[in-house]
């Protein structure tokens, strides 16, 4: 038993904070082989899907969307996230995309920041504040992300790279994906460039290949059981780079949007299931 506890503890550290308490029953049920453990974890994942607290973020996000906010006291209902002012349905399926008013390619999170600045009158630094929430400081951006992505649930990803700036973002994102550096020589490709790989017992999607790229991308954002928070795609990239031993990916930076564009385009045709629930 001691050995099992230690194994689980290490897995928590390495695979980035699996909830030990929740995993313990699954792993202690057997010790004979890795395959059996993988199956137990799969059962645990299915059990999680029965109730998804992401609904709480979705409801809060809808409220925030409709509130009059900021120095200008305007709601997001005049915010154009790609389908026209106030239109939310299906918007996430075509993001990131080029926006004429900013002359930039923007993802969902950066577009929300744009609306907070241009429409609601917030200062840029204030708009970006608290982008990743904690139990003490819930993030408004994560709630908005939950609401907006839920409104595209069941729709197919359909990102365009027709505009030259969209194409440029895709190419930069692709280069970032394959960029190896830092003390460990890691790049995104180290963990996400081959089929059927795992870190410890954690499956890794091959993001260079259509089917696994679709499955992975369309399941974000997600409620993370181990953190008790709903996490945006910007968070997903931020935390990957931490584990890659890279410096901090700046929230809504051009590079973060470019990499999102590369991954979103690779997921085109996949059906959105987000916000999902993950360990």
């Amino acid at each position: 038993m001691q050995n099992i506890k230690r194994t689980i503890l290490v897995a928590v550290v390495v695979v980035s904070s699996i909830s030990a308490a929740l995993l313990a029953p699954a792993l202690s049920a057997q010790t004979s082989s890795g395959d059996a453990a993988v199956k137990e974890i799969e059962k645990y994942r299915q059990a999680l899907g029965d109730g998804n607290p992401a609904e709480l973020w979705e409801a809060r996000g809808e409220d925030i969307w409709k509130q009059k906010r900021g120095p200008n006291k305007v709601s997001f209902e005049q915010c154009d996230i790609g389908m026209g002012p106030g239109k939310v349905k299906g918007a996430y399926a075509v993001l990131p995309r080029y926006f004429e008013d900013t002359d930039k390619v923007e993802d969902l999170e950066s577009r929300l920041v744009t609306c907070m600045v241009m429409l609601q009158g917030y200062k840029y630094a204030d708009a970006k504040k608290n982008h990743f929430g904690s139990p003490e400081h819930k993030s408004d951006i994560e709630a908005l992300v939950a609401y907006i992505t839920a409104e595209s649930r069941g729709m197919k990803m359909n990102v365009s790279v027709n505009h030259p700036k969209e194409k440029e973002a895709f190419e930069i994102g692709k280069k970032m994906f394959f960029h190896r550096g830092g003390p460990h020589d890691f790049g995104c490709v180290t963990c996400h460039g081959a089929d059927n790989t795992r870190i410890r017992l954690q499956d890794l999607p091959n993001l260079t290949k259509k089917e696994p790229a679709q499955r992975a991308y369309t399941s974000w954002p997600a409620y993370r059981v181990s953190q008790g928070e709903l996490r945006s795609f910007q968070w997903r990239l931020f935390d990957c780079f931490r584990q890659q031993r890279f410096p901090e990916l700046d929230f809504t930076s051009q590079g973060s949007i470019a990499l999102t564009m590369y991954l979103a385009k690779n997921a085109n045709g996949g059906t959105l299931s987000a916000p999902s629930i993950k360990r």
Binding site: V14, F178, R180, H184, D185, A194, S253, G255
Partner: protein
Amino acid sequence: MNNIPVAKFVIAGMAALALTSAGAQSAKPSPADIVMKASFKDRGQAKVDRLEQDETQRLCSQYPEKRPMDVARKIEALNMKLVKYPADGKLLGDWKEGEKVAQSGVGKQFSDNPANPSGGNCYACHQLTKAEISFGNIGPSLYNFGKLRGFTEAMQRYAYGKIYNADAYSACTNMPRFGHQGILTEQQIKNVTALLMDPNSPVNK
């Protein structure tokens, strides 16, 4: 002894080559390089200079899957020169300590305390012992490593060198260069070598 002038010439030539390519790079960074540099910020021990690439990282990024044979041989040759063996000539440490290094995944992240020793996180990618069922598969199974290959000094040297700088043996491997990049200390590498090569290690049971 005849080799020495040739070796010097080769090293000088490679240094010149490295300078030229570094010069060419700094003269004209790609749009992606410019965007990347502007998109990260220093945090804790992880500074933005970690985005800068050495020759190995640059070539492996340029050729992520297939690479010309001469590029692969060049990467292996330049990394082979960077392998440093222990001055005392002893390659095997304590396998029990090596097992701790293999289990630990901490180190070098901006969320890690740089005062603490890093782990090797071997189990993230390799099977090593029968007892540990939580292992990854990015690297091959190393179970019975010494038992299958023989407990020879040549194999100890190979294991130590591979942990120290894996690119010397396999260009653009996913495995970090634990010694060359200063992730693990010499003593830690000796201990992991013992985990693989000590007949009493659970790896060889």
